[in-house]
């Protein structure tokens, strides 16, 4: 499976089922302008954004039960396994990408982040994590204060 395409492929499948083809990836107003660079930029942004919305959904689904797993790994852009000995390899690893996967044990989502988009992605991603990992114990200052008052 090509990880970078898996999110897009899912989107495509869903779109096809609804009889929409590849359309839902682009906002209609953007697609109508017909400027390829614009569409491409929107597409990249969409996939990335799609991952974050799906991740939020995953967190919400696991609020009552279950765990969310997020895996981060360096990714060299490889889409085929490393060939066996004696085979020539025409693959040049890229060293500026990372692969992000998330699952709740059933649903799997993934995305590839490259150095170009890391700043933008990371801001949204960090906010998302902080907003959703809110079920942990707070430092209980109040109870400590109460205790100290009680001892006084």
């Amino acid at each position: 499976v090509v990880p970078v395409l898996s999110v897009a492929a899912g989107e495509q499948k869903r779109g096809a089922a609804a009889g929409l083809g590849f359309q839902p990836l682009f906002p209609e107003s953007e697609a109508r302008t017909g400027r390829p660079w614009l569409v491409l930029r929107v597409w990249c942004f969409r996939v990335e954004k799609h991952f974050l919305t799906e991740l939020t959904r995953l967190f919400q689904k696991c609020r009552t039960s279950g765990s969310v797993f997020i895996t981060l790994k360096k990714y060299d852009g490889r889409t085929k396994p490393v060939p066996r000995k004696g085979h020539v390899e025409s693959f040049e690893p890229a060293d500026n990408k990372c692969l992000l996967r998330a699952t709740d044990g059933k649903k799997k989502i993934s995305t590839v982040v490259s150095s170009k988009e890391v700043n933008k992605f990371q801001m949204a991603y960090s906010n998302l994590l902080r907003a959703n990992m809110d079920g942990l114990k707070k430092k209980d200052k109040k109870s400590k204060n109460k205790k100290s008052k009680a001892t006084q």
Binding site: C62, T64, I70, S115, L136
Partner: protein
């Protein structure tokens, strides 16, 4: 599987492990809302480092470390080495 008690020790060991072979290492976050705990694991399938917490103040630290690693991963090799020295 060593469970680290202190965050500093964990980050130091995790960074060392990552830099030994960046392509092999993966970082896994596990979050359970119902039990209120968060676990970060760094492994290369030989060594496995774990840090577990139930304190809200650790979320920020873990998330920050996670982001730092992400930046290291997307940085070019030469740059990542430079980032480590400072």
């Amino acid at each position: 599987m060593p469970h680290y008690q202190t965050w500093e020790e964990f980050t130091r060991a995790a960074e060392k492990l990552y830099l030994a072979d960046p392509m092999k290492v993966r970082v896994v976050l596990k979050y359970r809302h119902c039990d209120g705990n968060l676990c970060i694991k760094v492994t290369d399938d030989i060594a496995c480092l774990l840090y577990r917490t139930d304190q809200a103040q650790d979320v920020k630290k873990i998330e920050k470390f996670h982001s730092q690693l992400m930046r290291l991963m997307v940085a070019k090799e030469s740059r990542s080495a430079a980032m480590e020295t400072d």
